[in-house]
Amino acid sequence: MKPPVFEYVSPATLDDAIAALSAPDAGDVKVLAGGQSFVPLLSLRLAQPSLVVDINRIDELASITEEAGVLTIGSLVRQRQAEHSDVVKKACPLMAEALPFIGHTAIRNRGTIGGSIAHADPAAELPTVAACLDAELVARGPGGERTIPAAEFFTGFFTTALAEDEILTAVRVRSAGPGTGAAYEEVARRHGDFAMVGVGAQVRLDGDVVAEARIALSGVDIAPVRASRAEAALAGRTVDDSILEEAAQAAVADLSPSSDLHGSAAYRKHVAGVLIRKTVATAAARARENR
């Protein structure tokens, strides 16, 4: 479990990092942020890059700002930093709910918001949050900056729409307004493990009626899954047990998870339904409190 030989650079600016990524002789380049997934992959030689671009010195990527109803989290913001941020708690309660499920404290101290999203593990929390909230993912490459909607960002198992020479620089979400509540739940084999199934839900109420429901699932497909039929089933309705059941069934009917050692397909489908009922109910209750 020793990494193969690779070149290593640690630029201080985003421009230098992109220049390193897009150099004609760069070869197979990988970006190192918190390293919580990438370094084990290196050690197992599942990743064998020719060049590693360490972005940890690029301070411009490490800030959290909220402006004009949009929350922007720099990709190098540590998960633990976001977890403790009052701005994040208020503007993106779903992310605040999801963050404590990521690994353990020591992992979140190093792990970054952007790193987890760019790594795109379908069982991970932050890609699910991004999908749930239709986050905009800001990427910078030699040609400049572009934003990628979350729905187009996660293209498969550990794969994204990022080009080889692009760096994910920030995540943008619309700030949650009054009447909004969020909940995140997951079931893992142990505390801190990747989820067998995770569900993020955000509900906005208009009176007692659901104005907007957003639900996304982790661990049930090759990328985060939006439960669109469940969201539609909830829209315009008052949340009660029967509508929760209807929404859960609608969501589960669309799922075809695969089986592994930790959970069978049937298990994942069942737990997805359980967690949808639970998270939507909690999110709706919080939305009522937040009116």
Binding site: K2, R190, Y267
Partner: protein, 786 residues
């Protein structure tokens, strides 16, 4: 609470561990800490095919890599080593010998196929990636059922006919009569999965060959330096008098490090061939894939019982999945242990036991903390099923069948005498400590709220160290235990033990005993272990929970002999009779006349420097090798109770409470006992709920990192409450081992609790482990089994 001053009465106190300063400050010497001059590093290329014939191997590109010193293919290695053989004169045992590095057939994913020695591990791994190997796949055998099937591929050809490593049956008592008198026939079966030892420090060693003298030193992470030495010496063609095996800090073993492995052979042989120093530290990925695992056994029990739950007879069949290659001890020892121990602390008039040990295309079946544990697991679950069949409680069925102190001495049906066994008494105490009616009420209340609780109990005996008869029945020697003790020239004490402590705190416990026996300060005693040049021979090292009795006895007897010598000399100097003398704080004095005293240091200095000037007729040898025979040995015992809650939505099992009543006789250090009990239970719980050394049907290994091989961590474990009974025997050493019991019994109490929960909602018992959340929802009927 211990200090430098000698205070008698250290035995029985939770003295702070001597080991802690080194371990907790990171100043220990584990294998990866070892740095020898010019030390090289090696890496093993391993088979990715479960079963296949090696067609060709080309290491030429690897040999060209800068920094590579030598590449050994199987043929290269076999040219300088003998095949490993663990064959023993055991009737019917088919024990294939095998090369350190495969050169013909590979038989499991992870089998070494080449070894690269280089200036760094990085370079060795780079070069290994350049070795081209062509393996022609053969059909793998991935279960005992597949191995025993007609027409199954014989993975060792006619060396292991039909893949049956060993089969045997033994009959005790009149089994036919027992079944003909039965009111009920109760059947119980269990298919246990593979799980592993996973010590924090994996396998590894540094071999250093001195070309001038021809001496070889192997510093290894081992539980048994002497056995490793004599096994390896022959295979690497090293004269044993020129071969030294050492061990320093050892980061856990759990039974794994009792054997010698093919990697040990290759590392030592490479150091000899190259004429230098070679390090191998197994990484976690290699460890999970290749180090071996345990516990994969399928048992079926059929019991003949009377209407009142009294056991009349028991038929047992066991299939054991041995993996491909045999290690030490031979697998017949495991079968013998299960067979001999299974009746446990119960009266059983008739017994039939049959086993089939089957070779498969997996890593070796190894010892794991209580290698016989399945006997307690299946027996304690059977007792619960008998209770259900007879309409009595799990407590009542045990009370009706347990052997109490009043019944002893008595013989187990397996011809082992039980004496001073207090399993029934621990169980009685456990039952006193819980309110069974209250538990029932809580369960009913919970069910009304839609929650599901479970409660389970179990009891057992632990051969720690066992008896002569016990080990004779198993088919394994029960050796005596030596210890060399020396009073140094300044009156301080050095003791040389063949134990190789790797978490058992022997430096502390043996020092406590010596301090009390010799009247010297706890900090004035050093325990030397892990050096075949220094410690007396023992085949066993540390294993089998022997030390509490055996190593303790050796230091007690050794200390007493030296005390006698010191007192005899002092009686001349002080002109007082031996009976009137005492030793405290390293000073011999006359009782009641503290002014009349002589320091032990003065006596020791005289004995070492000028023995001819010491009182005539006294024994001035200040060093003594004691051999302790165990005074017949004996058993530990315990009873466990486990409370769980099952989440019927997710299938997750939470252990709400875990109670232990244990009796290991006289506790030397209660904190050490409790550490062993807690660690053991954590391992047993982890084994049942989380840990799984899993293979796919085509023989690929599925749990090669800690993301997939799930160790229990603190949030998964309950607080463990421990109540001690301390049976006082009339033996000099009344202490028994506790290293394995937690791991042996906890799975039984836990599975009984799970079965109890399932029974409350009308669902069938567990028949397969591990109990994953998926399996739990299948058992509850919430989801379909795939």
């Amino acid at each position: 609470m211990a200090g430098g001053s000698a205070i008698s009465g250290l035995v029985g106190a939770s003295v702070h561990r001597k080991e802690d300063r080194t371990i907790l400050t990171g100043t220990g010497r584990y294998i990866d800490d070892v740095q020898e001059r010019g030390m090289l590093h090696c890496h093993f290329l391993r088979s990715t095919v479960a079963h296949g014939r090696i067609v060709s191997i080309d290491a030429s590109a690897a040999r060209e890599v800068e920094g590579v010193v030598r590449v050994f293919t199987g043929a290269d290695m076999s040219a300088i080593t003998e095949d490993l053989s663990f064959a023993q004169p055991i009737p019917g045992l088919h024990s294939p010998s095998y090369p350190a590095i495969a050169h013909d057939v590979v038989r499991f994913v992870g089998e070494p196929v080449a070894m690269v020695v280089a200036e760094s591990r990085y370079i060795a791994e780079d070069a290994a990636g350049l070795i081209e190997i062509d393996i022609d796949p053969l059909e793998p055998v991935m279960s005992t059922t597949a191995g025993l099937a007609d027409g199954a591929p014989e993975i060792f050809g006619d060396v292991v006919p039909g893949n049956v490593v060993h089969t045997d049956e033994q009959l005790f008592g009149d089994i036919e009569a027992a079944f003909s008198q039965a009111d009920h026939i109760v059947e119980q079966s269990l298919d246990q999965h593979r799980w592993a030892c996973n010590p924090m420090e994996t396998r590894g060693g540094v071999a250093t060959y001195e070309t001038g003298s021809g001496q070889l030193t192997y510093e290894a992470s081992t539980q048994t330096t002497h056995t490793l030495r004599f096994l390896l010496a022959g295979w690497i063609r090293q004269p044993i008098h020129q071969f030294r095996v050492t061990a320093n800090n050892i980061g856990g073993g759990f039974g794994l490090k009792f054997s010698a492995y093919r990697e040990d052979v290759a590392v030592c042989a490479a150091a000899k061939a190259i004429g230098g120093s070679v390090k191998w530290v197994e990484d976690r990925n290699e460890h999970l894939v290749a180090a071996g695992a345990a516990r994969e056994e399928q048992l079926t029990l059929t019991a003949a019982v009377k209407a009142d739950g009294t056991l009349l007879g028991l038929r047992v069949t066991m299939k054991l999945d041995a993996g491909a290659y045999p290690i030490n001890p031979p697998s017949t020892v495991y079968a013998g242990l299960v067979r001999t121990t299974l009746p446990g602390p119960y009266k059983l008039p008739a017994y039939h036991f049959q086993h089939h040990i089957v070779a498969t295309n997996k890593a070796s079946y190894i010892s794991l903390r209580g290698p016989w544990a399945v006997e307690t697991l299946v027996r304690e679950r059977l007792m619960d099923k008998i209770a259900e069949t007879c309409g009595i409680s799990p407590v009542e069925v045990r009370n009706r069948n347990l052997i109490t102190l009043d019944d002893q001495p008595t013989k187990m049906i397996t011809n082992v005498t039980l004496e001073n066994v207090t399993a029934a008494e621990t169980f009685q105490k456990l039952v006193e400590m819980v309110d069974l009616d209250e538990i029932k009420r809580e369960q009913e209340d919970a069910r009304r709220e839609g929650r599901l609780l479970g409660f389970g109990v179990g009891t057992f005996i632990e051969p720690a160290p066992g008896t002569q008869e016990f080990w004779a029945a198993v088919g394994f020697p029960f050796g005596s235990e030596p210890c060399r003790i020396r009073i140094e020239i300044d009156g301080k004490v050095t003791a040389f033990t063949p134990q190789t402590p790797h978490g058992q705190s022997h430096e502390t416990t043996l020092s406590q005993l010596i301090a009390d026996e010799l009247g010297v300060g706890f900090d004035d005693i050093r325990i030397v272990y892990g050096d075949t040049d220094a410690t007396p021979f023992s085949m066993l090292g540390t294993g089998g929970s022997r030390a509490a009795t055996m190593a303790s006895g050796a230091v007690v007897y050794g200390s007493r002999e030296l005390r006698k010598r010191v007192l005899e000399i002092a009686s001349h100097i002080l002109e007082a009779s031996v009976e009137d003398l005492q030793i405290a704080d390293g000073v011999v004095s006359v009782k009641g006349a503290p002014g009349a005293s002589v320091p032990m240091a003065q006596i020791a200095m005289g004995c070492w420097l000028a023995p001819e000037q010491m009182p005539p007729g006294t024994n001035t040898e200040m060093e003594f090798v004691a051999n302790y025979d165990g005074e017949g040995g004996g058993f530990s015992q315990a009873s466990h109770a486990c409370w769980i809650e099952v989440d019927q939505d997710t299938g997750k099992i939470a252990i709400k409470r875990f109670l232990v009543v244990e009796d290991c006789g006289k506790m030397i250090n209660p904190a050490v006992v409790e550490g062993q009990v807690i660690g053991g239970i954590a391992m047993g719980v982890g084994g049942m709920l989380l840990e799984h050394s899993a293979y796919s049907d085509d023989g690929q290994y599925l749990t090669a990192t800690f993301m997939d091989y799930l160790m229990p961590s603190a949030p998964e474990l309950p607080e463990i409450e421990i109540e001690h009974l301390e049976f006082e025997s009339d033996k000099v050493v009344g202490s028994r081992g506790v290293g394995e019991g937690g791991t042996v019994l906890a799975p039984a109490a836990l599975l009984n609790a799970i079965d109890d929960a399932l029974a409350q909602v009308g669902r069938p018992r567990v028949t397969e482990t591990p109990i994953t959340p998926t399996r739990m929802l299948e058992l509850l009927g919430v989801i379909e089994k795939e």
